[in-house]
């Protein structure tokens, strides 16, 4: 499996392990969207540090994953975009709206904690 999806409390942590083919990206979207319901996840972190290239297809797929997950009730944060990949995306003018990004896992969890706290009602 090229993406490891772990459950941590209310969150799903999806770590992409290597460069993905287009069909692997589509499989990943399907699996993640199903797991959101299965685990009643409130938040998702997708770690893309293993991706050397984020081209228009991958960017569109990430947006579609985020929107599908949102319709299933989960917020998503993308972490680990490599510096060179970030520069390439700017040159390419890839539009990442409405993606939320964080530098690392801790920051992503903090973002999710603050945005899902109101919904779960435990106040942290």
């Amino acid at each position: 499996m090229s993406v490891a999806i772990l459950r941590q409390g209310d969150y799903l942590i999806a770590s992409i392990q290597s460069d993905l083919s287009d069909s692997e990206v589509m499989d990943f979207r399907q699996e993640l969207t199903e797991l959101v319901g299965k685990h009643r996840a409130r938040g998702i972190v997708i770690d893309v540090a293993a991706l050397d290239v984020i081209d228009s297809f991958v960017a569109r797929s990430l947006r579609s994953i985020v929107l599908s997950a949102k319709l299933r009730g989960a917020e998503t944060v993308i972490v680990g975009i490599q510096p060179d990949v970030a520069i390439a995306m700017v040159h390419f003018r890839l539009n990442l709206q409405p993606l939320r990004v964080a530098l690392d896992l801790d920051e992503a969890r903090a973002l999710l904690d603050s945005s899902t706290r109101g919904d779960v009602g435990d106040g942290g």
Partner: protein
């Protein structure tokens, strides 16, 4: 000077090897960061056009060298029906029949030179170049090397 690398494109899994080959060659040729990533991204986009719109084709990566600079040429070719309006496809707002655009304007911005020829008889050929400036030191070192021979 190293030889060309040919990558056969028959399906979406071949994009993974096209990206890897492009990055490896760019790094071997001494391109500074982030150029290997820019080149790999442009190639990924062009290779996907082949997979989505035609089904199969080929990408050839060739190093080249001139006096004060060297670089990498990428030639992507397919025998498909061609792009009806190349000028339009190179504009940012253009979207082909899939409604997703061909990614050509984006790929063009990642490379230094970019050319598309396309017609129904010969298919589509995309030629892209990325230059690497060679610094003075490298140039002199090479000249000295030549003198010693």
């Amino acid at each position: 000077m190293e030889d060309e690398v040919r990558v056969r494109i028959d399906g979406d899994a071949d994009l993974v090897s096209a990206r890897a080959e492009a990055r490896a060659m760019a790094e071997r040729l001494g391109f500074p960061r982030p150029d290997p990533t820019l080149i790999a991204t442009a190639i990924s986009e062009i290779a996907r056009n082949i997979v989505v719109h035609v089904g199969c084709g080929e990408i050839v990566l060739t190093p080249f060298k001139e006096d004060d600079r060297c670089g990498l040429v990428v030639i992507a070719h397919d025998d498909g029906p061609g792009i009806r309006n190349v000028e339009a496809a190179l504009r940012d707002a253009y979207t082909g029949r899939s409604g997703l655009g061909l990614g050509l304007p984006g790929a063009r911005r990642l490379m230094d030179e970019f050319d598309v020829t396309s017609d129904a008889d010969n298919g589509t050929t995309v030629t892209m170049k990325k230059w690497r400036r060679r610094d003075e030191l490298e140039f002199r070192r090479e000249q000295r090397g030549r003198g010693d021979e």
